[in-house]
Structures are given as C-alpha cells and as structure tokens.
Symmetry: C2
Subunit: 372 residues, 2 copies
C-alpha cells in the first residue's frame, strides 16, 4: 500500500489553493479506498477463521458490530458528528459483509416506513430489505429461513407497546439479537413565534396524536388540521400569522418558522424502538440488554420471586409489561428487559437462581444496547 | 497520523486466528477514521479557498463529486463491487459536506418513494430530504431558495416521459445540474420454473404495466392479479404450482422461485431517470450531458437547422422530445439531450452557430452523466 505523507488540513494556510486541497483529498480518498479493500479482504478471512465460506448471515456478528461502532464513537474527536461517522462505518461494514450473498432482512412494509429506516440504520444499505405484509409474517419468514433477520417495532414512546409483537414471542422460537431506536422530536413552529396568534395547527395525524396532551393544555381552542406530512403542515403555516405547524426542528429552518415551544411530544423521549429477530443467540458485546419472558403462576409473591434475585444483584430493569399468556397453564406472562448479558455475571447467576426456584423464565435474547 | 504497517489479508494463513483478524480490522478502522476526519478538515478548507464559510450548498460541486466517484470506480480492483464502493464514498462525501448546515433536497413525496431513493443515491444520507406534494412544488421551492436542490422524475423507460416535468422547464429559470438513474429488472418466477404450468401471475400493478406486452404475447390466458408489492406476489407464488410472480431476481432467491424468463419488461432498460435541479450552472466534470430546450418556428427545415450543427460535429444525441410550447410565439419546443458540456468544444461551437442563425436555444443545464 502506498503511503505518501498527507499534509494536515489544519496546517494549511487560511486560503489554500483549491487545486492543492483537492489533490490532498484525492490522496486521502485513494488511501481510504485501499483500506476499505483491505478491510473487506480481512472480513472475508473471518469467514475462513470460522471454518466455512457462505452467505453474509454466517459472518454477521451483532456483538462485534456494536463493539466496532462504540470504538468509532470513543475515538471521535471531530470534526464530524458521532451520528454521521457511525453511519459511514455502518455502510463500510455493510459493504464488507455483502461480498457474499447479502443479508436478507424482513421488515413490516411497505417500503418507506419507519421500519425500513430502522433496517437501514442497523444493517446499512448493502443489506437486502424484504417488505412484509404483517409483523407476524416477519416472524414466520425469519423462522423459515427465508429472511436472515427481521426488524419489528416493539414500542413507540408516544403510543405504547406494539402488543402484537410481544404476543408473537409467546410462541415463537426466535431470538432477539439487536435493538434499533429512531428518535423524533416535535416542535410547535409558526411565522411569528407567538403562541397567542395561533388559531390553527397543521400536522400529520401521528404528530397530532403524539402531542395531543400538550395541545389540549396549551392550545385548547386552536383547530387541529391533519395534513399528509409534517413538512406539508410547515409549508402551510409559513403563509399565515394564525397558523402553526408541528414538525421537527429542521422543518423550521427550512420554512423559516420560529419555534414557539418544543419538544412538545407528550412522552419526553419520542422514540420508536425496534427489535432485531434472528434464529440464534450471540455472545456479549460488553454493553448489552437482555429481554426475558417470565410465566407466573397465580400465587402470591410469584412476580416478587422472580424480581428479587435480579434486584438483589443490582441488575437494573428497563421495562416490565404483563400480558395474558394465551394457551398456557400459567396465567400471566411478563416481558422484562434487564441490563447485561445472560451468559455473564451477575445476570447469569440471577437467572440460574430463578430457574432453581422452578419459575419459568425464557431468555428471548441478549443483545447490544442500541448505538445512537 | 499513526501508520502501523498492516498485514495484507491475502498473505494470512488459510485459517487465521479470529482475534488476530479482528485486531487487524480494528487497526484498519482506526486509520479509515483518521483519514475521514482529515478529509472532512480538507473539505472545510475548500470552503475557505472559495472565500466564504457557509451552508453545504456553497461547498457542493456536482462535477467534482462525479470526478471523485469515477476515480473510485477506475481504481477499484475488488473485492467490493463498484456499486457498493460508490455508495460508501457517496456517504463519506455527504458526511464531509454536512459539517455545516446540510444540503436541503426537495423531492416528490411522500417518503419512501423512488424519488427519495434517488435523493439518497445522489446526495447520500447526510443530506436533508424535503418531501413535496407535487413536482411543481419542487421547482418552486428550489427557485425560492427553500430547498438547495430538487430531484424530479423525468423519464420512466416503462411509462415514458413525465410530461409535467418537461413542461415546468418551459417557464422555470432553474438549471439541471445532475441526473440519477434507478434501474429495475423484472423477471417471471415460479416454483416449478415451467411456463406451461402458469394460470395466474401476481405482481404490483406497476410491474404488470411494465411487462404488459410480454405477458400478452407469452401468457395471454393467465390471470393477472395485482398485489401490494412484488415481494408479496413472490410469496404467494411459492405456494402454488400454477402461480407465477413478476419480481426482481433477488425475490426469486429469497422465496426459492425459479426463473421462467427475464428480464421481461417491455422496454429493455427499465430505468427511472431523475433530474437534479439547482439555481446555478456548474463547470465540466469531463464526462457530461447537456439538456437543451429549443423553440422552433413552424417553418420547413427549422429543426434540421438546429440539429445539423450538432450532427456535423459528431455530437451524439441521446433523446429528443417535442412539446407544444404554451404561451410562446414559437409553435414547438424540443427537449434535446446531447453529449458534452455547453462550455466546451465541440458543443460550445455548435451552440454558438445555432444562436447566430437566430434559433432560440436555452441550455437547461450541463451535468455529469449518472455514475452507476
């Protein structure tokens, strides 16, 4: 590999020659390209090291990808943002992985949904997305091996748990091997920036739903007008003094609107959370979460019996949700998310202790905590 | 910048140690990251070299990006495909450009359309897409400066020219500064792979339209059943011997279908072509196309008078399309795409000659030929 020394940009004059700057960038690009090719060759070796050469699904290691991306964030001291750098490295990994048959990822279609965005955010654009007609079908196609992984929504902080997803885990043998979070913040924007002028509020119906409580308190008399997108609402709002739009901050910049208030979503963290489904379990990435499914007999203290071994070991619980356990002798199923990996202490010890007591606990999966 | 020598993957043993391979990849990633940061700093210098520091739109140079990507393709000798590498470098450039306010790109919404794919393909994911309600609005928002660039469909090889786009150029001051092509090939797929078994064909209505001629000739009696997506059709086809689906080849792989025939789209190159709209013209990238709008008086030989100076200089013409020129003294407008850049010979000379003759020729734009 040729390695000409590259002049540091910071050392350049305040007004460098454009041709010289471009020549420097060309040199950098050439070296980036050499390194990417080198990386792809090594990634290929990983397959060999595992003793087989096959499709991308045989190479894909979520815990390893999480570690690589965390290192990217740790190392980053600018000028690019963590988010942008993670996206670039996601694409590099996605590209290296796609040397064989690309990963096939089932998701709730149609194309263009948040679910597709989640697929690309997690697997990069070299993975092959397969839109499915229902969440149930995503489970089926992954179980049948027609898709390597699936991405399904499990929780929208504005609208709660997607119950169908949880219920499918009651009977599915699939493992959770990742999570993806997409964040959206809503703001109230208008031309004047003064709330007392506002008679009408434009937004997509979902945005209106996510901010319904705030609107009821702060703009009880304003007309709420659903439009096809928040961008459309922002566009309309810029032409009238009595109109506001609910949209992301960028829409305000774009349409020259001022922020009256925000974020105004009723749940402070307006995030859709997705789970990545696969057929196998993966080792620890060093910063993991574990989803448990616990079946509880209707006896006093049963839930406590499960939670106590966790609490005693200082294992933090992110989420607990009860569901009727259809077709089970047990009466309730609890979905519990806890910190840690099921094959590592202290979680492993807690799970062993719960099993000894005879409570039924299924590990739905241990997986890296979402990166950005 | 640290530059530890990197062991070449090819020199490694057939079964290298997994930990060692990963350490090598980590070293490569660190160096890629250093180079990307260095590149971002230099890209920042480009702005300085131009004597200002502002939004991404002031840095964006389509001719330069085209040159960078062509170099990537020229240099590529594997193992990754040109397509995958171009995508990675597109993201790197997009990231470097987004250090300031990101590019704002208007497109025909809603999100998830082909137009949005075209935006991402051309500008990368660090650009900010603005879905618009109509093609006309994309023109307006770019002209008004609310969007930096616009992406509008102009031609679908299956369904012809998008007339509204051409007509908007009749009155718009905007310049074409790029083109994007999205290719789709359709195949007839079934479980058995035998055409004589097929009684039903499932596909998205657009795919049915794009292959209507082939179906009429080859499967005149089969029932054509529109479904929500081609993937959905493929899924249905795998459960019956008498059913086929029209879909991309990857769907065949995914659903275990055999190819009966393909590509079967009626136009051999089933491509949607998009134009990138901007407010200014850009210099030559070295491999450009120019779109001309020619107004022709209703006199014999008028069109010939325009074409002859082009033909005599051996300038190849990709496309010609006539439209009634509403509100013009002239009776016809011709949209003509020719090879070359309007500021370079031989096209410049031909245009000068046409102007001397008194024919009205407007250069809608000279722009890099689409890369992949």
């Amino acid at each position: 590999m040729a390695k000409k020394p590259v002049k540091k940009a910071k050392e350049a004059d305040a007004k460098p020659d454009l041709a010289e700057v471009r020549a420097q960038i060309d040199g950098i690009d050439r070296r980036i390209q050499e390194l990417i090719a080198e990386r792809a060759n090594w990634a290929h070796q990983v397959g060999k090291a595992k003793g087989k050469l096959a499709a991308a699904v045989d190479y894909y290691r979520p815990e390893r990808e999480a570690q690589v991306l965390r290192r990217v964030v740790d190392r980053n001291d600018g000028p690019l943002s963590d988010e942008v750098l993670v996206r670039v490295f996601r694409e590099v990994m996605s590209a290296c992985l796609a040397q064989q048959e690309p990963l096939k990822i089932g998701y709730l279609g149609p194309e263009g949904t948040f679910s597709q965005q989640a697929v690309h955010k997690h697997f990069g654009h070299s993975a092959h997305g397969l839109p499915m007609a229902s969440i149930e079908e995503v489970f089926q196609e992954v179980a049948a091996g027609h898709a390597d992984f699936g991405v399904v929504p499990v929780e929208n902080s504005g609208q709660g748990t997607i119950q169908v997803t949880l219920d499918l885990f009651l009977t599915s043998p699939l493992k959770i091997c990742g999570e993806v979070e997409l964040r959206v913040h809503q703001h109230l924007l208008s031309r004047s920036g003064r709330i007392e002028d506002i008679e009408r509020v434009y937004a997509h119906p979902q945005a209106l739903a996510q901010t319904a409580g705030w609107l009821r308190t702060n703009l009880p008399k304003a007309e709420k007008i659903p439009v096809s997108s928040n961008a459309e609402g922002a566009r309309r709002a810029r032409n009238a003094d009595d109109a506001a739009a609910i949209a992301g901050e960028s829409a305000g910049l774009v349409y020259g609107l001022k922020r009256i208030a925000g974020p105004i979503e009723d749940r402070s963290d307006n995030t859709t959370r997705f789970l990545v489904l696969g057929r196998e379990s993966f080792p620890s990435s060093g910063h993991d979460r574990t989803s448990l499914l616990v079946f509880i007999r209707d006896r006093p203290g049963a839930l406590y019996g499960v939670l106590e071994p966790l609490a005693r070991r200082g294992i933090s619980m992110n989420r607990i949700e009860s569901r009727p356990a259809h077709g089970h002798l047990w009466q309730y199923a609890f979905f519990i998310d806890v910190a840690g990996h099921c094959q590592e202490s202290p979680l492993k010890d807690a799970l062993d202790e719960i099993a000894e007591k005879g409570d039924e606990v299924r590990v739905l999966g241990s997986y890296p905590v979402a990166i950005l």
